[in-house]
């Protein structure tokens, strides 16, 4: 459901500079980006254009060198690490290219992990985890280890983990990058389904086929937004 009022995410003049051995790399230069509730945004661009850096900043894994970042009308750009971790836990669900499941934990435990860090009671966690696994069609594999699943199944579990805490936004970094086309399509269908159910999604992809699944595509080049196109247009 799209909200026409204040954007869920507002980036204004966001810049990111990396300093390595006294060499400055301008990964992002003056990014302006709004994402509203219920939108499905894809961020596309050639390799090295700053897509993943942008997603890291959106996900509070990294901080901008300059500019402002508001999440749910709260300035979050320069929060401390613990504060960012708390917001990340509650408001953001991550889906990584390489799934990033913890191999020693079962499917259930992997999905449960962010809820544990939130301090949720066990009975409530069980209910949230079960719901999330059912939603992605992996409820029957709750006691399996990630090594016992296919790539597509692992990514589904990763989606469940991202969903379980009912975050404000799902951030997906090349979610089909490590999958074959069949499994990739399956995951994209799942994201589409979630979006239809009201989820706000921001996805980084270099695959134009999958970028089309989104309502809106933001093209980056050399750390700048060169095009911001609604797919309906």
């Amino acid at each position: 459901m799209k909200n026409g009022s204040t954007p869920l995410i507002q980036l204004q003049s966001v810049t990111k500079v990396f300093l390595t051995d006294e060499v400055e790399t301008h990964a992002l230069a003056g990014i302006h980006l709004d994402i509203r509730n219920g939108e499905y945004v894809s961020i596309a661009g050639p390799s090295g254009c700053g897509k993943s850096t942008l997603l890291s900043i959106l996900g509070l894994l990294d901080t901008p060198s300059d500019g402002s970042y508001s999440l749910k009308a709260t300035e979050v750009a320069n929060l401390s690490f613990p504060e960012r971790a708390r917001i990340r836990n509650r408001e953001i669900g991550f889906i990584f290219q390489s799934f990033n499941l913890i191999g020693d934990l079962t499917v259930f435990e992997n999905v449960e992990l962010p809820l544990t860090y939130r301090g949720m009671p066990a009975s409530e966690r069980k209910s949230f985890v079960t719901e999330a696994l059912e939603r992605v069609g992996m409820g029957h594999r709750a006691k399996h280890l990630p090594s016992q699943l296919s790539g597509g199944q692992q990514q589904r579990v990763a989606v469940a983990r991202a969903l379980a805490g009912k975050p404000a936004i799902l951030l997906a970094d090349e979610p089909t990058g490590n999958l074959d086309s069949r499994n990739g399509e399956a995951v994209m269908d799942l994201l589409k389904e979630l979006h239809a159910g009201g989820a706000t999604i921001c996805m980084v992809t270099h695959d134009a086929r999958f970028a089309q699944h989104a309502d809106r595509t933001v093209h980056l080049f050399d750390g700048r937004v060169v095009e911001d196109r609604s797919m309906a247009a």
């Binding site: 890291s56 894994l61 613990p82 971790a85 390489s98």
Partner: protein, 469 residues
Amino acid sequence: MKTPGFTLIAVLALALGIGGSTTIFSSINALLLRPMPLIQDQDRLVFVSQYFTKLPDQDAGTAFPDYLEFKKQVTTLEGLAAIQPATFIITGGDKPERYLGGQISAEAFSFLGVQPILGRQFRPEEDQLNAPPVVLVGYDVWQNHFGGDRSVVGKTATINGKQATIIGVMPKGWRFPEICDLWMPLQLNEKDSPRGNFFLDCIGKLKKGVTITQARAEMEAISRRIAADHPNTNAGSSVHVKPFREELVKNFRTLTLLVMGAVLFVHLIACANVANLLLARGATRAKEIAIRLALGASRSQIVQQLLSESFVLGIAGSALGLIVAVWGVDLMLTALPTEIPFWIRFDFDWRVFFFAIGIGALSSVIFGLFPALQSSRPHLVDVLKDGGRSGAGGVKGQRTRSSLVVAEVALALILLIGAGLMMRSFMTLQHTDIGADPSNTLTFRVGLPETQFPEKEMPGRFFEQLIPS
């Protein structure tokens, strides 16, 4: 359990360090902490000895007449006993048997609070010179020589050629003051043990509420009066009054504490080793930690998780270390060249147990905290990406591991230098010229019963015959 190889190595390293530390701590416990067995009110016992002010650090012993004066005049002590070591030879059986023992004043065992398990204590009149000889027998002698005969009280035994009546059997483990197995009354007189002949060991018991300072002041005043009355023998003399336990351990305390320090150094090296292993392992777990952080774990939650894992290693190390310590104590006792005093007991009590657990827990913080703090700061973005650098395996992590190796080498070097110096001192002692060649030399003691050698010149004549010129 997920990385059994790492766990085994870490636990073994810790167990060796904890085992060594616990072994030496059990010595400290036995010497300095654990109450002496069977003795009541131990904190009120004092060691009393005369000394000469020109040699203030040397205890001369106490002369018998001075002992009687102290006993008569002192008001701050509940009791004052005297003891002199003696050798007792029991004959009359298949072969003579030699025991170490003591001639002790009648009231000594009473104020020490120890009662015989059979029979009675000495009576005051039995301290008189010509009183009939009586003997208190130690538990092991009762079992081994007298067959544990419960009717042994009242029987006689030939001790040093004289018939002595057995009046009691002391409790198991009682060998006061160190390794005595038989006790007979002091039975001294001033004629044969005159003033100026300092040889007795004296033990006193402070009255309740009296401090050792007060007792010392009074005894020193009595000593001054004696010196004034008998300047020929006692001029320049005074008296030491020291806590009894302190006197017993004075020769062992420093060395034991030094060895404890050395062993703790070894343990620190083990901790540094395990810390290095954890750091390296942290590098392989960097991705997992980054995932947890990305999912919203705070650094303190990650550190807590990693410290819990270290704690488990520490406790496992403590458990195995206790087993190593049991072997270590057995080895130590086997290596001791002489019998140890009865009051030194190396049994593992709650202090030793808690020391092992405590040092395991403390070690887990020492070796676990730094790697945990280090591992909880990965470069999140890099690590979460495929093929990204691992946090603790980067340049900073390498530097940290190298620093730990440097610290280990430094600690090991200090230990090596200390050990080298000790070896050198030992070698120097071995090669000190004593004015004679000790190689192929045997030492032994021969006790000559007074009843068979009553005249003063008789022992001399015996040894002239025994040793050919």
